[in-house]
Symmetry: C2
Subunit: 354 residues, 2 copies
């Protein structure tokens, strides 16, 4: 029911997704009457792989968390996440209110052991043709160093599980690459990440800068939710600016239009490579369940990508892999701490004997 | 002497600038021998509007502030800023170490009354064809609300003075437009700016988001130096990515190349509208003197723009206008505070009598 356009976008996206994905099934959660009407309009009311789960309320973009979480107990958002909790669905996709989605997910699904705060992790395209994972993109606007530390671990595990790459390269977003750069929180986080690197539990590259988001210099970029959100919206804004300039200039004269017609394959390829729709669908990471957030302004094509991201995560068994890896990581780091503790104790012993 | 390319870029830029600007004079500050050699190479050793001021040292990009400020007392950077202080030059332009430039400028020139910390203010192009001023872009990575408050005032005064627009629209960069959004510092800054708006001393629009940087929805965008620096470098990175994709796709086949040839006017216009060189030259704002920072990676064309920005600021009497406006602003806000103080006192009196 969510997003700027509601079911007029989400349901066509579902039908397109199912056409491309013969082994997937979708549960549409929301106001049953409206959903049925929309399905009829699209001649899909008897789709064999669509079922409907009724919900009598909708969380709006303006609802405060309090309302979304405590009052609207039969919202489509909440019922959808309950499907994940009960195991009836393997993942939830929503284009609705991000804060509410995070709060309800956290309340119902709980966080994984070792995670204080879930984070929003999105995927950006980079110049080397690969993906760059970036987190947190807005769930946590006030972060301490320990939170950035946890985001780094989670991001690394997610990249490793989804992209099937061992030891992803993790960078800490900062105002310069030198260690002395940055505010106090980031400097402290850098120390924590260096410790992980020394233990061999993280492939930490050190500080990275804004441009590294697009250069493919690292696989995972870690920042607090304030910086991440502002940066994401800035680059989206610049992307729209580019597209508008491109279109308006190429339509500005018959000769330019002819040129654009001849070069249409190149222009199509440019549009595709830079199309933000292909990168729609951010993970709510650190929960005991898969929840994906689509951009509120997504069109059907973009929303289909968010569903596909959820499907791929289910298919590559991301949830089990991340919880296993996270448990191993905690185990290792406890052992690491024990080892440190033992070392420190023997040092004290030695000093005492001396 | 500064920047990635030193005098092989800055001196050609100076000569090109002087050719375009018959009433300007330039003082080249740095290692005299090297400067003379470079001028000879460009057949400009007797240029009537170029003089040389010798300096025996150079601040490198790696020099810690301590070294730049206390040890290298005869650096080109320091000597150049001394020219501004003594009045021999009306503005200083440097492509060197940003931190050092800010520290030396602040030490030698001092800040304007009412300014705790100078800020770096850059100009971004927006979709409406106008400029958007953004500050701070990296001078202050740990900011309190009061600093953001001062940046808003300074940015508004600068925009007003340079663009000759009364009451520029000022926005506070945040993760959402609603007042409840953001981290603690930003929320508190929002309150301070609302108070200014109520007093009529600032045309404050409220919170803006990353995309507003490019949409022309406001004239001045205020943020802390951490967020500003990361955002600026991110959008620069995306800009390079975009240009690389454009070039590589349009060269990918003879037909695409022919199309690009026909549409070359449009492509030239796209390049010009999106060329970051045109926006090179950030102001170090809040000082008792004009100092401009060019991007370290600037080519001669971009460095020429930074010199032009300094020239325009001198020509439109920005320094005098800003100090006058800042003094008036302080006067007004003291009166405002007095009024508040009186109001508060009479309230206390009333309570006592009651």
């Amino acid at each position: 029911m969510g997003g700027d356009h509601g079911i007029s976008v989400t349901i066509p996206a579902c039908i397109a997704f199912l056409k491309q994905t013969p082994d997937a099934e979708l549960v549409l959660v929301g106001m049953q009457d409206q959903i049925v009407d929309q399905l009829k309009r699209l001649r899909a009311e008897n789709h064999p792989r669509i079922s409907i789960k009724n919900a009598t309320e909708v969380v709006t973009m303006e609802d405060p968390l309090e309302i979304a979480l405590r009052k609207k107990r039969d919202s489509s958002m909440r019922v959808a996440i309950e499907q994940v909790k009960s195991g009836e669905a393997q993942a939830c996709v929503s284009a609705g209110n991000t804060g509410a989605l995070m709060a309800i997910s956290r309340y119902l699904l709980r966080t994984l052991p070792g995670v204080d705060r879930p984070a929003i992790c999105a995927i950006l395209p980079n110049q080397k043709g690969g993906p760059t994972y970036a987190l947190d993109l807005g769930a946590n606007v006030d972060c301490e160093a320990e939170h950035l530390h946890q985001f780094a671990i989670m991001g690394s595990l997610l990249f490793s599980a989804v992209e099937d790459v061992p030891n992803p390269r993790v960078g800490l977003l900062n105002v310069g690459t030198e260690e002395i750069k940055g505010n106090e929180v980031v400097k402290e986080a850098g120390e924590l990440l260096k410790t992980e690197a020394r233990k061999g539990s993280l492939n930490y590259l050190g500080n990275v800068e804004g441009n590294d988001l697009f250069e493919g210099t690292c696989d995972v970029v870690v920042c607090d939710g304030f910086v991440g959100n502002v940066t994401l919206k800035s680059v989206e804004g610049l992307g729209r600016f580019f597209r508008n300039v491109l279109v308006s200039e190429l339509k500005s004269s018959p000769l330019n239009m002819l040129g654009a017609l001849l070069a249409r394959k190149a222009l199509k390829s440019i549009r595709e490579r830079l199309n933000p729709s292909r990168f729609n669908g951010a993970s709510l990471l650190g929960l005991k369940g898969l929840v994906f957030k689509s951009h509120g302004s997504a069109d059907a094509f973009a929303f289909e990508w968010a569903i596909r991201r959820a499907y791929d995560a289910v298919n590559s068994n991301v949830m089990l892999r991340i919880s296993t890896m996270m448990a191993e990581f905690l185990q290792k780091s406890e052992n690491g701490n024990d080892a440190d503790g033992t070392a420190a104790q023997s040092e004290i012993q030695e000093q005492k004997s001396a």
